[in-house]
């Protein structure tokens, strides 16, 4: 079985703060990490490999530094990794990204047929959840989003059975392979890399595919191929509510303040 897993390097957005003056994201000094949803995709791919045998290829589009997320996947047990990196890919929205990723998977598929593609449900920096489905469409693979459990992969009859976590319900589906799966965070707990795994991953040569290899139309990729235009990033204004500061020993004052409000609004009765 050949599994491709897509990973993205993202800024650790939980650490991103908003500049109160300009109302923009302060990205300075924020470390880059593997998109947390993707760590579950990698884990699930590795678990299927452990269960059924086969090969896992990790794929990422990003700047040269994004090789770190691929090396992490290699350290955890992926067999191959390919980085899609070219200035021409830069500034891509989800459409342009899907085009590049699906073209790369098509090329991998030609060389060694792909049975499954794993993506994280969404990234923590864009939060669109569009890239997985976009890639599935372009490849003509079965699309299985929001998967939180895999029951079975039947390689002989070429189908997979999974559970999808929908709002208020679970859906158990059987689907034809090749398929693309996007994983929720509940699907598994990612493993931790061994040190020999890390050292091995660090010492390997990593193929980088630029657009010279991919040969996509410039108008299809990067900023040019992106119909989405980000006009402004801003933090929502707080219209109601107030944060009572209870830090640095102010907890008693904070509690007093809270209590007074509760009396004021008649939620608590002073008697």
């Amino acid at each position: 079985m050949h599994i491709v897993v897509c990973v993205k390097m993202v800024p650790d957005t939980t650490l991103v703060q908003i500049d109160p003056k300009t109302n923009t994201l302060v990205r300075e000094g924020v470390p880059f990490i593997t998109n947390p949803f993707d760590t579950h995709a990698v884990e699930e791919a590795l678990r299927l490999k452990d269960r059924y045998g086969g090969k896992v290829t990790a794929l990422s589009m990003g700047p040269p530094a994004a090789e770190m997320v691929l090396r992490r996947a290699l350290a955890l047990g992926a067999d191959e990794a390919v980085l899609l990196s070219d200035r021409a890919f830069g500034g891509a929205d989800t459409l342009a990204t899907s085009k590049v990723l699906s073209e790369a998977i098509r090329r991998i598929h030609e060389n060694e047929p792909v049975d499954l593609v794993f993506c994280g449900l969404q990234t923590i920096d864009g939060d669109t959840a569009q890239v997985g489905p976009g890639v599935a469409c372009r490849l003509g693979f079965t699309q299985l989003t929001l998967v939180d459990h895999i029951y079975e992969v039947n390689q002989r009859e070429s189908y997979i059975e999974v559970r999808r976590k929908l709002e208020g319900a679970f859906e158990r589906v059987q689907a034809r392979m090749p398929a693309l799966i996007t994983t929720t965070r509940e699907i598994n707990t990612p493993r931790y890399p061994t040190v020999p795994g890390r050292l091995q991953a660090a010492s390997r040569a990593l193929p980088v595919w630029s657009n010279d290899v991919m040969k996509l139309e410039r108008a299809e990729i990067g900023l040019q191929g992106s119909p989405t235009n980000v006009r402004r990033i801003f933090a929502p204004q707080r219209e109601k509510g107030e944060i009572i500061n209870g830090l640095n020993g102010a907890h008693l004052t904070a509690a007093d303040c809270m209590l007074n409000k509760l009396y004021e609004w008649d939620i608590l009765n002073a008697d």
Partner: protein, 666 residues
């Protein structure tokens, strides 16, 4: 030559041969381990042997150890006469008489008296195992067998000498008061009968002696041979610092096979006398966990003997060491079987080090546990699941909770604290540590420190958001790979900033910066806040006023006390602000009971047995304190949780010594 002498000579040569072969096997097994230099500081090592072997200093710390003292010295003195005895069996003309009549007589006299003493001591030891056996001592067949053999030796000794005196075969009778008195029993016997008795006693003595010699290597009494070298080769540096690893492909990390230990660690296994003192003082074992340092060492020994035996047998005879590194092991080291160490127990240890402090023969338990953790974490990525987020948080955000590094200086945002920079140095760097920076309770210690440093008028600063965790928990939990990255980054940062003096209120930061970072080229001075505050008060630089704080009991942090020998400084701080020396718990100083957070246990659930922190809190409450003073943020958390669980958090407070001092500043 009489037949009996021929038989004895054959037996003697066979026994000595077998004994030497056994010793050779033991040394060959040690050589299966990795190299480690323990041949430095020869003078200190010899001194240790004098003090701890011949002086039995650690043995007699416990009352019953005096019994061992007498058995030990009995053996030493009996060595002379027993050698003479064995040689005489082959060469009847031989005698130690050439030493001179008086020295020889003195030796006879001492042997005669010591034989009685040893007999009494053996009787006591038997009684102890039958009538008043402490939990940590086993009444094993092994123990009774060896005690019986010793008793038999003594009785036969008297049989021989009493008969000799009765027969008038010796002119030294006057030097042997006990044997002389016993000779009276033969008063009514015919010389023939006495002769037969002498013969019988002689053979009993001879056979018991040879049997003892060859039973030793197979029993816990192997320590008779191994304890002396184990004391000699003990760790001289008081602090146990794990060796720095090289991260290269093809290396193996940690220990999963007994032969990956160093030869000294293997000697430890052989030196254990199973006295049980480690087990008796171990906080994990004492709170109902399966982990027992004694059992761990015992299992290590069994594992070594099984694997070592098979390795030696399958190896070319001409080499002493050099078993193949990839040799398959008959028994894995970390496993659930009787000759292996259960994986669960590897995680139960708080590395408090009391086992090593208690061990009369200086066995080093904790470093072995650490090596096994290193293997589990780095080679297998197998560890309790709580650690997964800890490891990831440390690697990505440089603190155990995974809080944003940008929040690290939030505790100081309302204070005007200097941030140390390359172009803005300070005399003292206050290394706040993760607890002081993020933990809402421990922030109180950081604030108290800020007040103290300011009031003492020192030039000081912090690293602010640039500070990273010291990596203590990573290292004690066996995640050396991530620790290595953090240590390198921290030492490089300190060097870049030209830092020469570091103050910290956390014993974990303290020991890591001071001891563990030395292998990374750290040259700065590291000061625990208790040392600094003690000095500032003594020099009159802190205007403190002793106040009635009520009864304060002091709890020793393991990494401050046992690991770094700082017992007095924090006590002096308490004394300076409360006007009297702090109350002591039953277990304090070197024998102090851990709070349960050391060795990375701070981040692990404790589901087996009673919780260590509850036990320790109860011990503190026995002293009826108004406050428990601590000098470690981890201990503080554990004791406060203990008080909450016991419903006593309203009555008793846990205070860091810095908080007590800051409160007492006018």
């Amino acid at each position: 030559m009489p037949w009996s002498r021929i038989i004895f000579t054959v037996l003697f040569i066979a026994s000595i041969g077998l004994f030497l072969f056994n010793v050779y096997r033991l040394i060959a097994m040690l050589c299966l381990g990795r190299w480690e230099n323990r041949f430095d500081h020869l003078l200190a090592r010899l001194k240790g042997v004098l003090l701890f072997v011949f002086g039995q200093k650690r043995v007699v710390r416990r009352a019953f150890g005096v019994n061992h003292f007498f058995i030990f010295w009995g053996f030493m003195i009996l060595l002379g006469m027993n050698s003479e005895f064995l040689i005489q069996g082959v060469f009847p003309e031989f005698s130690l008489r050439f030493l001179g009549r008086v020295p020889y007589g003195a030796l006879l006299f001492a042997t005669d008296i010591m034989s009685v003493v040893v007999l009494a001591a053996v009787a006591l030891a038997v009684m102890r195992r039958i009538a008043f056996r402490p939990k940590y001592i086993e009444a094993s067949r092994d123990a009774f067998l060896i005690l019986g053999l010793i008793a038999m030796l003594m009785v036969a000794y008297f049989g021989v000498h009493a008969a000799e005196i009765a027969l008038g075969e010796t002119d030294m009778g006057g030097w042997m008061p006990v044997s002389g008195a016993l000779a009276g029993a033969f008063a009514t016997s015919t010389p023939e009968k006495i002769h037969r008795s002498l013969n019988a006693s002689w053979w009993v003595h001879a056979l018991a002696l040879l049997a003892f010699l060859n039973y030793l290597p197979y029993s816990k009494h192997l320590h008779v041979l191994t304890a002396i070298p184990n004391v000699f080769f003990r760790r001289i540096d008081p602090v146990s610092v794990p060796p720095r690893l090289k991260f290269e492909l093809g290396q193996d990390f940690g220990v999963s096979k007994v032969t990956q230990f160093t030869w000294k660690q293997l000697l430890d296994f052989m030196a254990c006398t199973e006295c049980g003192r480690c087990e008796d003082s171990c906080p994990a074992h004492g709170t109902g966990k399966d982990l027992s340092p004694k059992e761990m060492v015992h299992r290590g020994k069994l594992n070594l003997f099984i694997n070592g035996g098979s390795l030696l047998n399958s190896r070319p005879i001409d080499t002493l060491a050099g078993a193949p590194r990839e040799a398959s092991m008959v028994k894995p080291l970390i496993d659930g079987t009787a000759e292996s160490i259960p994986e669960k127990d590897v995680w139960s240890c708080a590395t408090c080090g009391v086992c090593m402090e208690e061990c009369p023969v200086f066995i080093e338990h904790a470093p072995k546990t650490l090596e096994m953790r290193r293997h589990l974490v780095m080679e297998k990525a197998e560890f309790p699941e709580e650690l997964l987020s800890l490891f990831n948080n440390m690697e990505q955000r440089f603190n155990p909770w995974g809080i944003a590094p940008t929040d690290r200086a939030k505790w100081a945002q309302d204070l005007d604290i200097h941030i140390v920079k390359e172009d803005a140095p300070a005399d003292y760097l206050f290394f706040v540590g993760c607890s002081g920076a993020y933990d809402s309770r421990a922030r109180g210690i950081a604030l108290a420190m800020a007040k103290i440093l300011d009031r003492a008028g020192l030039s000081w600063g912090i690293l602010g958001t640039e500070e990273k965790c010291c990596g203590d928990s990573l290292r004690r939990l066996g995640n050396e790979y991530v620790f290595d990255q953090i240590a390198q980054a921290n030492v490089a940062q300190f060097k870049k900033l030209g830092i020469t003096k570091v103050v910290t209120h956390c014993p974990h930061c303290y020991t890591t910066l001071k001891n563990d970072y030395r292998a990374y080229g750290a040259e700065f001075e590291v000061i625990h806040h208790s040392e600094l505050i003690e000095r500032l008060i003594a020099e009159g630089k802190l205007p403190v006023h002793a106040r009635a704080n009520g009864r304060v009991v002091y709890h020793d942090s393991c990494y401050l006390g046992r690991h770094n020998g700082l017992y007095d400084a924090p006590r002096h701080c308490v004394e300076a602000v409360s006007g009297q020396a702090p109350a002591e718990m039953e277990r304090s100083h070197g024998r102090a009971f851990c709070c349960g957070a050391g060795g990375g246990r701070m981040w692990l659930e404790e589901t087996e047995g009673k919780r260590i922190n509850i036990d320790r809190t109860e011990q503190a409450l026995k002293q009826n304190p108004a406050a428990i003073a601590s000098a470690c943020p981890f201990c503080m958390t554990m004791l406060e949780d203990g008080l909450k669980d016991l419903g006593k958090d309203g009555d008793v407070k846990v205070k860091d010594i810095a908080e007590l001092v800051a409160d007492a500043i006018e």
